[in-house]
Structure formats: structure tokens, C-alpha cells
């Protein structure tokens, strides 16, 4: 299983997934931070967008994700002020430019993105901003891997580990897969040859029954990772339980703002109630995120659910499994 949207895309785009179809059962796991955002979190974000005197700053992929009552894009069309950012610091600049508005940054992302959000928060604190808040729907990858590693229905033989997250956390953060779960894993880069090389090493481990976690991306990933980034992350955030679409609640897999940064917590500023609602009928996003179902096995795939008319988030996000399969691997 790969657990990184960029890997999902790379496997499809290079044609590797198809080339290996006959000998490897490659499953895409919860690798897209947009896709694993729970429906109630998306609904909360849409409620935020509808608050008075508010600018919502978000990454582009979040715009089209359908919640229970529409999407951010629809809210934008109805007059909500939503600003697409390429970096969290843009949201801080927005807050400085519009002191009479509250700028809410939607924090979506794994360990690759979080240090940047932390830096933005430090900047906001240093600038004494009172109109900048963050809604932290961030997720941590290792706890999700633990859950997947022990899922009897899934029966995984090994993981291809995310190159960018590993660059932040280091190989040592994934050693538990071998030590605790006896599962081999290999950290892979994103060029087709990187992935092929990591797969080759991983397959040998599997065939030899050797549970090890290899760093097959040594030109970017080190044993300890990016200590500075880890430090910044830990300065601003601490782990908390989080609800993952498809995987349910996982302890210590989300991030909350530490006490010192509480004034920047969107949930404290906007304690809004979200009514739970059932998932859209027929949508298999949950099982797809877990790797139990292939996107092509979902009855809605490429019929009612397409990138232009998405039913679930996996089809919306450019690195969602369903979107990747739609674009590159429809024949699987």
C-alpha cells in the first residue's frame, strides 16, 4: 500500500500501476489529506465561511470537496469570501491587509505541511495579530499506518512510505512498523525509478520474511528527519484524537494548538455546532481510503462520480485515489 497522494498519482501517471498489475496488488491508502478530512470537519468549514466579516483562506483542493450541505465553492458563489492560498503565510498577509476581518486558515495536511502552518502562527503571534485563526484539521501519518497494519481484512504485506512526510519525520519515525507490527516498508521518492527501486527492495524483504523499514530515498530522507521542522511543529501543536474519513477515530493522530496559541484556535473563536449527516448513498470513499476497495470497484466511479461532478472527496482532490484512477488508471 502507498499512503501518499503524490505516489498514487506517480504510479498512475508513469504507468507503473498497470505494468505491475499482474504480479502486485497495489492499494492506495489514505494519502490525501483533503480526502481523509471527515465530513463533519468539512461541514464546520462551510459554516465558518458563512460567518459575518470572515475571510476563509484555504488550499485550492478544498474548494470543491462536497460536505453534507454543499461545498466551499458553492459558498463562494453565494457570497462567502474565500481566498485560495498556495502557502499558509499568504493567510497571515491577508489578515494584516484586512484588520477588520477575521481570517480563518483551514489547516489541512500531513507532517509535510504542518511546520509551515506553525511558522505562520509564530509570525502571527510575533505581529500581535488578533484577527487570524487556524482551524486545525491536520493529521499525522504514523498512527494511521498502525491502524492499517493491524487490519485483518486488509492483510497488507508491506508499505511504500511517503517521501515528503519521511523527509520531515525521518526513517526512525516508521521503525515501529517492523518492530511492532513485523511489516516491511520502504520510503520511496517520486520519480518512477525511485518507486520501482523501493518496490524492488520491499518485495525482497517480503519474500525473505524480513520485517525492516528501509530508506530508499536517501538523497532526501535521513534517519532523524528535519529536526528544525519537527521542533517548530511541536512548539505550536500537540497530538489529539482525530476522526479520519473511512478509518474512524484514531488516537493521537490529529493536532491541536498548544495553550500559548489558543487565541489563534478557530474552534475557540467559533464554537459552532455541526449536525451529523449520513454519507452520500453509494459512495465508497471510506473503503477506498482504507484500500479495501479499488476506485474502479465503486459503482459510482466514472459514472455519477467524476472530477467535474464529484460525489466524494477522493474524486475531487487532484491527489485523491479516485481522481488519480480516473485520470490514469481507468482500466484497472
Amino acid at each position: 500500500m502507498e499512503v501518499c497522494g503524490t505516489h498514487t498519482v506517480a504510479l498512475g501517471r508513469s504507468g507503473l500501476r498497470e505494468l505491475l498489475e499482474d504480479c502486485l496488488d497495489l492499494r492506495s491508502g489514505p494519502g490525501c489529506p483533503v480526502c481523509v478530512t471527515a465530513a463533519e470537519d468539512i461541514d464546520y468549514m462551510i459554516l465558518l465561511a458563512r460567518q459575518p466579516d470572515v475571510f476563509v483562506a484555504t488550499f485550492g483542493d478544498m474548494l470543491k470537496v462536497p460536505g453534507s450541505y454543499g461545498s466551499l465553492e458553492q459558498s463562494k458563489a453565494e457570497g462567502a469570501r474565500i481566498h485560495v492560498c498556495y502557502s499558509p503565510r499568504e493567510a497571515v498577509e491577508l489578515a494584516k491587509s484586512y484588520p477588520d476581518k477575521i481570517v480563518i486558515f483551514l489547516g489541512i495536511g500531513f507532517e509535510t505541511t504542518v511546520p509551515l502552518v506553525a511558522l505562520a502562527l509564530k509570525e502571527a503571534m510575533a505581529a500581535g495579530l488578533k484577527n487570524f485563526v487556524v482551524y486545525s484539521a491536520h493529521k499525522l501519518v504514523p498512527p494511521a499506518l498502525s491502524l492499517l497494519a493491524t487490519d485483518p481484512e486488509l492483510g497488507l504485506d508491506g508499505f511504500i512510505l511517503p517521501g515528503h512526510v519521511s523527509a520531515i519525520l525521518g526513517r526512525q519515525a516508521f521503525a515501529f512498523l517492523a518492530e511492532k507490527h513485523h511489516l516491511p516498508a520502504a520510503i520511496a521518492g517520486f520519480e518512477p525509478l525511485d518507486i520501482l527501486g523501493a518496490l524492488m527492495e520491499l518485495i525482497l524483504l517480503i519474500l525473505n520474511g524480513e520485517p525492516q523499514v528501509l530508506n530508499s530515498y536517501p538523497r532526501v530522507v535521513t534517519e532523524e528527519g528535519n529536526l528544525k521542522a519537527q521542533e517548530i511543529l511541536q512548539e505550536v501543536f500537540y497530538p489529539c484524537p482525530a476522526n479520519w474519513r473511512g478509518l474512524g477515530s484514531i488516537p493521537d493522530s490529529g493536532l491541536k494548538l498548544k495553550k500559548r496559541y489558543q487565541d489563534f484556535d478557530a474552534q475557540k473563536r467559533y464554537p459552532l455546532e455541526v449536525k451529523p449527516s449520513p454519507p452520500p448513498p453509494g459512495c465508497r470513499c471510506g473503503d477506498i481510503l482504507k484500500g479495501l476497495t479499488l476506485p474502479t470497484e465503486c459503482p459510482l466511479f466514472a459514472r455519477r462520480c467524476t472530477p467535474a461532478t464529484p460525489v466524494g472527496p477522493c474524486m475531487v482532490s487532484s491527489e485523491g485515489s479516485c481522481a488519480a484512477y480516473f485520470r490514469y488508471s481507468r482500466r484497472i
Partner: protein, 340 residues
């Protein structure tokens, strides 16, 4: 130009209402740079001698943001983009019209820079701007400048290009690296701070017309892959000609800077716009001659054979560098840079 003559530092609604300021704008700015006789006459229509051959007409509108980007601006784009639509139809470009919709508050200097760029591009291309119009809309109801053009050209009788000529066995050529314009404009618009990107905006008729003359009927079809990029253009061809198209990833030229920036952003250069490239379908036996010819010209010095036409029903396939084959579809929705 002195302020009292031009009327202001900024364009106002009065510049568009047909009165004194309108006349000052036209004579002081537009006619100053666009010194074409039909335009200077300031009549309601340009009367032009009929060309010999079939008349080609194209229309286009330009709304690019930002107005100025590395390698070009809305003005050069308007001239070259229109010329290229004529050129890939086999037409020698002769005349352009220039319709301007200006937003109240637009800086006079910005407008002058754009018009001056239009003038230079037209002069270099050897086309005359023979008619025009200027309107001003309220602030907030436009986006600084919108440009609309009509291009008029003439096609010699022996030229016959189109999907109906494309047959299985034909070869597909691209005139140079793809993705430059789309990526450059996106990066400039969003201020990514990426170095080394430059739009390929250029007029192609001075390559295409000799190419058609030399290769003759061996050239079956031409298109400039603008919006939607090379992949979309090939998909349109496959659909209209009812054939299948196979292209080889390793043979498609893409500049390293474009490849790198696209990878970081999670974009696909095959779907990014080009403004100085053309795609050609040629008789297989004429490929070597075609490439030799094109590579003599700076604008097509990296021309490459990228694929072939086969029997089929409108599908486009990419052979990846790993040897897999995957289908290329129309893009659904905008390409957005990824999160992580």
C-alpha cells in the same frame, strides 16, 4: 505625452464616451503607435483590396492576468495569438482589428505600454491593424484591459489542411518544447517567485508558410496548442478525424525549468498552454524532410517527432518513459497546484 493633452494619468469613463477625451486618447496614444493608413483615416470601416485566394477570418479575445509576464504581455499575445490562428489554417496574415475594453482607473502608462507592444509585434509580423474600437467600463466591471481581435488572412488555392486529410500511418510533429506559456503565466499570477520561466509567445507564420510551401501536400493538419495544451489539441484532432493517436512521453520536448516547476506544483505540462508552438501531422515519408526544414528556424529549432496516427475512434494514448501506455483525456476542471 503632456498631461493636459492626454487628459489624465488614469483612464476614466470620459475617455470612452466619444467626447474630447476619447479623441485625445485615440489620436494621442493609439494613432501615435499604430500608424496604419486605414486606421489613421478614422472612418467607420476600413476599405481593403480583395486578396487573391480564399479569405481566412479568425476572432479571439484576450483576458490574461497578469498583463505583463516574462516573455510577453497581453498586447503581444493579442497580435501573435491571432496571427497563429491564421497561420495554422494555412493563411498569410494580412490585417488585424483591435477592440479594447478598458477598466476605469487603468493607468495611462500601462495602456501605452500595451499599445506600444501591439505596434511592435504587428510591425515585426508584417500585419496591418486596420480597425479598432475603445470602450471604458466602470471600475470593478472589467479587469484592467480586455482585448478582442479579428484576424484576416489569405489562403492560397493549393493549400488543403484539416482533420479530413489525417490518415492512419501519418506522423505527428511538435515545433518545440511545451508548457512554457501556461506555467509562466500561472507562476507570475500567483507570485511563486520561480526563476527561469518565460512565455514562448511568438508569431509563427514566417515558419509555417515556408514550411507549407516546401513540404506541400505532405503536411495534412496544423494546430497551435493553446488553452488545454498539447494533450487537448491531440484529443480534439483524434475526435474530429476519428483516429487514434499515440505519442511517446520521452520524445515530447519539455524544458527542464518547466518540468521542474510543474513537478513541484503538481501540474502536467501536456495540458499547459503554448503561444509560440505548433503541432503538425505530416505524411510519414516526409518526416525527415520536415524536421530538417523546421530545425533551420530559431522558433522551431527543437522540432521533434512525437508520435503517430493509427486506426481508431478518437482516443489519445501516451507511451510513458517506463513503457506503459495510458490514455489522455480532456482535462476536467482547472489544474490546481497541490498541497503537499
Amino acid at each position: 505625452m503632456e498631461k493636459e493633452v492626454r487628459g489624465a494619468d488614469k483612464i476614466t469613463l470620459a475617455h470612452g464616451d466619444g467626447g474630447e477625451l476619447t479623441h485625445k486618447l485615440i489620436s494621442g496614444l493609439i494613432l501615435k503607435h499604430l500608424q496604419y493608413e486605414p486606421l489613421q483615416a478614422l472612418s467607420d470601416a476600413a476599405l481593403l483590396p480583395p486578396p487573391v485566394g480564399r479569405i481566412a477570418v479568425t476572432t479571439d479575445s484576450f483576458v490574461v492576468k497578469p498583463l505583463f509576464f516574462p516573455g510577453g504581455n497581453i498586447g503581444t499575445l493579442a497580435v501573435n495569438g491571432t496571427i497563429n490562428d491564421l497561420a495554422v489554417s494555412g493563411a498569410k496574415p494580412l490585417y488585424l482589428t483591435l477592440g479594447l475594453i478598458l477598466e476605469e482607473g487603468l493607468s495611462y502608462d500601462t495602456l501605452e505600454k500595451v499599445i506600444s507592444a501591439v505596434a511592435l509585434a504587428a510591425q515585426e509580423a508584417g500585419v496591418a491593424i486596420v480597425a479598432g474600437d475603445t470602450k471604458v467600463v466602470e471600475h470593478g466591471h472589467g479587469d484592467q484591459i480586455y482585448i478582442n481581435t479579428t484576424g484576416i488572412g489569405v489562403v492560397e488555392d493549393n493549400i488543403d489542411l484539416g482533420p479530413h486529410k489525417v490518415k492512419p500511418g501519418d506522423a505527428i510533429i511538435i515545433s518545440g518544447p511545451v508548457g512554457d506559456h501556461g506555467l509562466t503565466v500561472l507562476a507570475a499570477r500567483e507570485n511563486f517567485g520561480l526563476q527561469g520561466l518565460k512565455s514562448d509567445c511568438a508569431a509563427l507564420h514566417k515558419v509555417i508558410l515556408p514550411f507549407l510551401k516546401t513540404l506541400g501536400p505532405a503536411v495534412k493538419w496544423l494546430r497551435d496548442p493553446t488553452r488545454g495544451g498539447l494533450a487537448t489539441t491531440l484529443k480534439e484532432l483524434a475526435t474530429s478525424a476519428q483516429v487514434n493517436i499515440y505519442v511517446n512521453e520521452e520524445d515530447i520536448p519539455i524544458r527542464q525549468e518547466v518540468q521542474g516547476a510543474a513537478e513541484i506544483l503538481g501540474l502536467d505540462p501536456l495540458y499547459l498552454a503554448n503561444e509560440g508552438k505548433f503541432c503538425a501531422v505530416v505524411e510519414k515519408s516526409a518526416v525527415d524532410q520536415a524536421l530538417l526544414f523546421l530545425r533551420q528556424y530559431p522558433l522551431s529549432k527543437e522540432a521533434a517527432l512525437i508520435g503517430e496516427v493509427r486506426e481508431g475512434s478518437g482516443h489519445v494514448y501516451l507511451r510513458t518513459s517506463l513503457g506503459a501506455t495510458r490514455e489522455l483525456y480532456y482535462l476536467t476542471g482547472l489544474q490546481l497546484p497541490r498541497i503537499c
